[in-house]
């Protein structure tokens, strides 16, 4: 591992943080007030980490800008600056900008001049909010300085209410460590040195810890001091005085005019002393008046009541002996929470190639296992067969488990569109909600990677063209806010992803007229409704009367279709005028496991996805009828169109006397597949056929059987679609 590797880790991590920040920012607007603090804290933390780690690597371009964003987020977290849609938009732009800074830094080692200019412009915008929230106390003037010196501007009171203690002196509480003498430290020398940077107004020596003479160890230091110190030095300068002893000693420094709450914190932090005792000491040395102490203790009591369990927890944190049942319960609850989080976090990144390699090896293992089992059966050794069959069960479980490793939920892909929809809605002056369902639907990682672009085109198109303007919606009596829906589910061994809108819907007549005008469809050519809708995905087709700069001139929609076909999938469009449009992408689950039903035709074996199989019946040629080149049988009074696999795929070899019909259902229609043999169920791993077989229809992939042979998987949907099309074409002729 090296510095470069760590830097690489930083870039990856920063991007993740920024993605998280974006997601949280988008959530703010839809959130309950109680959830807000945690969300703001998470956003703050993301910015904070991006900045903090950038500073470790000296990436000033990122640090300087992010620091300002972090400041504003800190103020929002404290409630000083309120959340507004404008502010969220600004923060989203800032988040984009930080991402750009990260990208540029990774690519070129520094941020570009353009980005520096944008940084400054955004800082000005951020400054407006910082000023608004903070009044006088905020320090935005020296903003881009990464705040390295911020600490020196110690805690002056942030507001002018009478919470402030009337004390113009610093207050220093000193408890020297037991070993101070042994470490060669002389407490008095520190006090003397203090005089160099100010005046000690009052000093109170505390000897509360002096033991009885019998226990007294002259080498131990038992001293404590409370000091009122008049100085113009900064807190850091005062702290530096005690630098050599601060590891072992207890040192608290309060600024002049500190707030009462700071004194309360001081009182509370003195773990070994009772609150009352500290309070008295403070009065004694003149840091607090009696009235102020009374108020402080009252405030503390109120706070204690409000949050008793937390308070108790803290006390116990300091002293094990005072364990109480309340804390037990709290601790238990904490353990439960910890377990839950632990579970959530037990994930690790693995290189996808390594996973693929593992899956292949496991697949091979299963095949080898099946071969060995076969040998065992030939040998007829019962014990061997028994143990091999156990081994095979385990191997299959192992294969299933390893395959699941590659499956990822589509949710992350979907949620990226929150931002897209939000930004577009703002640009187009529309009100749009994005409804996501089926986010848990799992699909193969390789599919997830490729589906992003097509979905982007569809979502943009739906917002831009699908949804009407607010005025149009109002006129139509529809809710002003349009809805874009993203949905995913598994169906018949496919994964279906839907992009829907509740907009104006598609007008088939208009589309057809336009397609004829453009020469895409012949004048007398008749098309079904579905085919007409399909035209909108053709190259160069656009129905938008007003071409907007967002989804362009229909460029993109044909890309969707092409990408989907490349993934061996297909598209479907449903639409009703005035009600909306749903575009469905139907993809095969490449590399997914499906339960298959194996059928034999000639010497070849084909796999039918089990979930489309309805039943199997015996085939009898006597019962079949033919019409328009399509054969049918009568299945309990219903007409069942047949696909003869032997003919369809040109399989050679002798036709057996007895054949079977596998009744499958897809696209809402039942079809019978005529096959030679039924070979039973088999859980199969889909292997994509690769680029050479692009465009091969009726086959959706392949799989490796127990014998090691490759079997082809039938694309039942595709076959059915061809039948329905063929039927219609035939009818038209």
């Amino acid at each position: 591992m090296s510095m470069e590797a760590a830097l690489q880790t930083y870039f990856t991590e920063a991007r993740e943080m920024l993605e998280d920040m974006e997601a949280q920012l988008l959530e703010i607007e839809h959130q309950d007030a109680d959830a807000l603090p945690e969300t703001l804290n998470a956003i703050f933390r993301a910015a904070h980490t991006v900045k903090g780690s950038a500073s470790l690597f000296g990436l000033d371009g990122i640090v300087d800008f992010t620091h300002v964003v972090e400041n504003l987020l800190d103020r929002m977290r404290d409630g000083d600056v309120g959340v507004s849609p404008e502010l969220v938009s600004l923060l989203l732009r800032c988040q984009d900008h930080i991402a750009t800074l990260v990208d540029e830094t990774e690519a070129d080692g520094e941020v570009s001049e353009d980005s520096r200019i944008l940084s400054r412009a955004l800082i000005v915008e951020l400054g407006a909010y910082l000023d608004e929230g903070a009044g006088s106390a905020s320090d935005t003037s020296g903003l881009p300085a990464a705040g390295k010196e911020v600490e020196q501007a110690h805690d002056y009171p942030e507001d002018e209410n009478d919470d402030t203690v009337d004390n113009d002196c610093w207050h220093i509480s000193l408890r020297f460590g037991r070993n101070s003498f042994r470490d060669g430290m002389d407490p008095i020398s520190f006090l003397r040195f203090l005089e160099n940077i100010g005046t000690v107004r009052h000093i109170l020596i505390l000897d509360d810890w002096l033991p009885d003479l019998a226990d007294y160890d002259p080498e131990d230091c038992y001293l404590g001091f409370e000091i009122r110190f008049m100085s113009s030095a900064t807190k850091k300068e005062i702290e530096d005085v005690f630098e050599f002893i601060r590891e072992d000693s207890d040192i608290h420094i309060l600024a002049p005019y500190s707030r009462l709450s700071d004194y309360i914190d001081l009182i509370e932090s003195m773990s070994e002393e009772s609150d009352r005792r500290i309070g008295e000491i403070l009065i004694e040395c003149g840091a607090l008046t009696e009235a102020e102490l009374a108020k402080a203790l009252a405030l503390q009591a109120a706070a204690e009541e409000a949050d008793q369990s937390r308070r108790l927890g803290e006390i116990v944190a300091q002293d094990d002996d005072r364990l109480t049942p309340v804390v037990d319960a709290a601790a238990q609850k904490q353990t439960q929470m910890r377990d839950a989080i632990n579970r959530k976090q037990k994930s690790l990144r693995v290189d996808a190639d390594k996973l693929d390699h593992l899956i292949n090896l496991v697949g091979e293992l299963v095949t080898a296992g099946a071969g060995t089992f076969l040998q065992a059966q030939i040998l007829g050794n019962a014990e061997l067969i028994e143990s091999m069959s156990k081994l095979n069960d385990l191997l299959e479980e192992m294969r299933d488990a390893s395959l699941k490793l590659r499956m990822v939920a589509i949710g992350a892909t979907f949620s990226k569109f929150q931002r897209v929809v939000r930004d577009m809605a703002a640009d187009l002056d529309k009100e749009v909600d994005l409804a996501i369902t089926g986010a848990d639907t799992e699909l193969d990682k390789s599919v997830v990677e490729k589906i992003g672009d097509p979905l982007m085109h569809l979502v943009r198109n739906a917002v831009d063209h699908g949804l009407e303007s607010s005025a149009e919606r109002e006129a139509a009596g529809k809710p002003l806010t349009g809805t874009i829906s993203l949905n995913a589910y598994h169906d018949s061994g496919n994964i279906v992803i839907e992009v829907g809108d509740d907009g104006r819907g598609l007008d088939p007549d208009k589309i057809l007229a336009k397609a004829r005008e453009k020469g895409l469809v012949g004048e007398d050519q008749q098309l079904s409704r579905a085919e007409i809708f399909d035209l909108i995905l053709r190259p160069g087709f656009s129905t938008a009367e007003q071409v907007s700069n967002i989804s362009g001139r229909g460029v993109g929609m044909d890309v969707v279709r092409r990408n989907v076909i490349e993934m061996r999938g297909r598209t479907e469009i449903d639409s009703a005028p005035g009600e909306g449009t749903t575009i469905r992408i139907i993809l095969p689950l490449t590399l997914a496991i499906i339960d298959g039903f194996v059928v034999g035709v000639g010497k070849a074996a084909f796999v039918v996805p089990l979930d489309v199989v309805q039943e199997c019946v015996e085939f009898s040629e006597v019962d079949q009828t033919e019409r328009d080149g399509q054969t049918y049988i009568n299945l309990r009074g219903n007409v069942l169109p047949l696909v003869n696999i032997r003919h369809r795929f040109g399989v050679q070899g002798e036709r057996p006397k007895r054949r079977s019909v596998v009744v499958v259902k897809a696209e809402g229609q039942s079809v019978g597949l005529v096959v030679d043999r039924l070979m039973g169920e088999f859980q199969t791993v889909i292997k994509p056929l690769g680029p050479v077989f692009t465009g091969l229809s009726g086959i959706s992939g392949s799989t490796i059987m127990g014998s090691g042979e490759v079997a082809l998987i039938l694309d039942v949907q595709g076959l059915v679609q061809q039948i329905t099309r063929g039927e219609r074409t035939a009818a038209n002729h």
Partner: protein, 121 residues
Amino acid sequence: MEKTVMIVDDSASLRQLVVLALKDSGYRVVEACDGVDGLSKLDAGRVHLIISDVNMPNMDGLTFLKEVKKRPDTRFTPVIMLTTESAADKKDEGRAAGAKAWVVKPFQPQQMLAAVNKLIQ
């Protein structure tokens, strides 16, 4: 004997830097991504020193520190808190909860090594 240092921080790159800073001096470094993770990893074996960030998801650094001080096996394990300039109040809080020292981010690797050496030897 090889000493083990635990770094608890939600930033993987920061953790990597700490590992870089310490491993050449013969420290073994255990990484944890937040307080919860840190506590579970403390169960796994003896740690001689803990470096912990303050602001982390799931369990922040101060809560973590308090938990560490509660456990009999880690009560006396020195803890270095990592803070930023803007979190000065957290320093005091950390001190009160038993942190031995703090290192202000951003730090140089040598600074971190020096702080660790000082506390552990």
